[in-house]
Every structure is written in structure tokens, then in C-alpha cells.
């Protein structure tokens, strides 16, 4: 029951880490970016490419929230499902720390998205062009939240390279949503993707010199039934 010591496979403490960790008189500003996308699209790779710690995994226990979608009748004893989320950390300055949270893309994990999206700078929606539809729930969700996001096409070896414009069209993206082709394994392209997102967030934050046109409600665009929603109240 001792969570800290008894389990041989317990996650490793990242170690001494940056100096701010031991100065308890003050804490750095903490902020976060959400990395979203379908299963196996490279979210953890993305996080690991730029994180100063080996990505850690946090878990949320889903109980009754999943009843409508999970058929428990065959296994009556099973009342909970564990949802995992990998995250990394970047110390950007002595007083500024950025967290990257890779979130599961499946629709039934909305409750967890609300949690991770609260206070976030924005989201990177990772896309595999072989499975475009996997990112629909994420796009819908961020549109309904009005969370700034960029679409990052993770270019897998051996797959055809699609132009950003083709991806934009296939996903029915607004013209002002940045689309980037990148490689989640390569740190430099990951950093560029994050820079693009923060730039996009600045554009859409009140006070901008050339403030972006406020987006219409997601329903205004004729899109495939992507069915996401943002429950800001939770």
C-alpha cells in the first residue's frame, strides 16, 4: 500500500532537477500545453522529444462516468477504468515552467480533457494522415472550448507527404488555424510546433495589435459529425 517504495516498477523520480525545485520560498509560474490526437499518433514521442524529464504518466480513475459507453454487464465486478496521460516538463526560465500533457483522444475521456484544458495556453492536435478521422474529436473539442490550437501533421516514414493545404481541406479547418508538417521524434520540429502554437495563442488573446477575427461557433461550418463538446462548468 506504500505507493512510494513498495512497487519495483514505480516511476523513477526525475532526480535533482532544476534549482527552482528546492527553493520553497517561491514557485515558478507554471503553464501548460495540451498534446492531443488519436491512439498511436506520437503524443508521447512528441512530449519526450522536448521534455527535460522522461515523460511521466498520471492516471485518472473513471467510475460511473463511463457507464453509458462501457458495457459492464459481462464483467459486473469491474466498475472503474483507468485513463493514462503522459506528460513532460520544460524549464523555460528560472521562474517559468512549461508542462506538456499528452491526452487520450477518445471521445469518452472528455472529463479528463476539461481538467487538462483548464488554464492551458492551447493545444497541438497531432495528426497521422493515414488516420485523419482520429483527430476529429480533438478538433471539435478545442473548437467548442475556443482553445487556441494548431494541427501538426506527424510525418511517418514511408507515408506519402501531404501538403498542409490538403490536410486543412480534409479537416475543414478555418483558414487561420496553422497547419504544420513535422516529425515528433525531432526536437527542433517539436519546438517549432510549440512556437507556432504560442504565436497562435498570442494572436487570439485580447490585447493583440492585430486581433484575429473572433471565430464563429463551430456549428457554423458544415463539417463531418465530429460530436465533441466542451463542458466548461466541470
Amino acid at each position: 500500500m506504500d505507493y512510494a517504495d513498495s512497487d519495483a516498477t514505480a516511476p523513477r523520480d526525475p532526480g535533482p532537477g532544476p534549482g527552482w525545485q528546492t527553493d520553497l520560498s517561491r514557485a515558478p509560474a507554471a503553464t501548460k500545453i495540451v498534446i492531443a490526437g488519436g491512439f498511436g499518433v506520437g503524443k508521447t514521442t512528441f512530449v519526450g522529444s522536448v521534455s527535460e524529464i522522461t515523460p511521466l504518466r498520471t492516471e485518472a480513475v473513471m467510475t460511473t462516468a463511463g457507464e453509458e459507453v462501457d458495457d459492464h454487464t459481462a464483467v459486473p465486478a469491474k466498475a472503474t477504468t483507468t485513463v493514462a496521460m503522459d506528460f513532460g516538463r520544460i524549464t523555460l526560465d528560472t521562474d517559468l515552467v512549461l508542462y506538456l500533457f499528452g491526452t487520450p483522444g477518445q471521445q469518452r475521456f472528455w472529463f479528463m480533457w476539461d481538467d487538462v484544458v483548464r488554464g492551458a495556453i492551447g493545444a497541438v492536435v497531432l495528426v497521422d494522415t493515414r488516420r485523419l478521422a482520429d483527430c476529429f474529436p480533438a478538433l471539435d473539442y478545442f473548437e467548442s472550448c475556443r482553445l487556441p490550437y494548431v494541427v501538426a501533421v506527424n510525418h511517418f516514414e514511408g507515408t506519402a507527404r501531404h501538403s498542409p493545404e490538403a490536410v486543412r481541406e480534409a479537416l475543414s479547418l478555418e483558414p487561420d488555424v496553422p497547419v504544420i508538417t513535422m516529425d515528433a521524434r525531432h526536437r527542433i520540429t517539436v519546438v517549432e510546433t510549440l512556437l507556432t502554437l504560442v504565436g497562435r495563442a498570442l494572436e487570439t488573446t485580447p490585447g493583440a495589435v492585430s486581433r484575429a477575427v473572433h471565430r464563429a461557433a463551430p456549428s457554423a461550418a458544415p463539417e463531418p459529425s465530429r460530436g465533441g463538446r466542451c463542458d466548461g462548468s466541470s
Binding site: Y3, Q21, L195
Partner: protein, 144 residues
């Protein structure tokens, strides 16, 4: 939250001997799932100096009001306090102790109510980051 304290105490009855038995996460929190503190996943917390009873020796008597604190704190709570001798985010506490986020939030909320940990502000509460913060993030990323 005046009802906070009992959740942190070990049950009065006989303690099961099986070391592998895991307490159902929400029995640790008395079924509560929310707390009054702003504990975002990236919120930093740290143990307060005079609440340093998280050390390994279970027989240690803490010099805090209430007597032998370490002996009645749940192991999970001791683990949280031990980990938080360094600045940690809520998500890091959850990951490093392998405790579900919701449980960690409740435990941290209780510990904050009792003055055992400090919850640091993220600087922007629950709203979106402001322009000043975004500019700092941008220049920080450019330096990578």
C-alpha cells in the same frame, strides 16, 4: 473544510496484514472528489517545513500538535509529504506516487487545509494565460 481531518487518519479498527492489498482510491478520500483549493495539474505544492513528518521512520514522533503524527497518518499521506519536500506539481505527485489524480487532489487539499503543504499560485488561476505570460513562454522556447 472542517470535515477534512478524519480522512487522513488511519482507520481505528484492525489494519489488514496483507501488504499487497490496495485500498480503493476513493476510500482514502472519504468519497470526496473535489476540494476548495485551486489544484490544476500544473499547480506547484510543497510541504511546509514544520510538517516534515513524511520521513521513512514510521516510529518517528513528530513535534506537531496532536502528538505522534507519523503513526496515525496514512502511508499515502506520508508519501505525499515526503515527496513534497521538493517543489512538485500536482501531476508529478500523482505520477511519482502512482495515485490517481482525483485522489491526489483531495489529499493535497486536505493537507493544505491543515497547513501541512503550501499551494502555490500558477499566476493565472483558471483563466487563459495572459499576453505577458505568453510572451515569456515564446522567448523561453526560442532559447531552447
Amino acid at each position: 473544510m472542517s470535515t477534512a481531518a478524519p480522512a487522513l487518519r488511519a482507520p481505528a479498527g484492525p489494519v489488514p496484514e496483507r501488504p499487497t492489498a490496495r485500498v480503493r482510491p476513493y476510500s482514502l478520500t472519504g468519497g470526496r472528489g473535489r476540494c476548495g483549493h485551486v489544484l490544476l495539474m500544473e499547480t506547484f505544492v510543497a510541504a511546509l517545513a514544520d510538517a516534515d513528518e513524511g520521513r521513512g521512520d514510521p516510529g518517528a514522533v513528530a513535534a506537531a500538535p496532536g502528538g505522534a503524527l507519523a503513526s496515525w497518518l496514512l502511508p499515502e499521506v506520508r508519501a505525499v509529504l515526503g515527496l513534497c519536500r521538493r517543489l512538485r506539481s500536482v501531476a508529478e505527485v500523482s505520477a511519482l506516487l502512482r495515485m490517481p489524480l482525483g485522489v491526489v487532489r483531495v489529499l493535497l487539499g486536505d493537507l493544505a487545509d491543515q497547513g501541512r503543504i503550501r499551494v502555490y499560485g500558477t499566476g493565472h488561476l483558471t483563466g487563459r494565460p495572459d499576453r505577458a505570460l505568453l510572451e515569456r513562454v515564446l522567448s523561453g522556447l526560442r532559447r531552447l
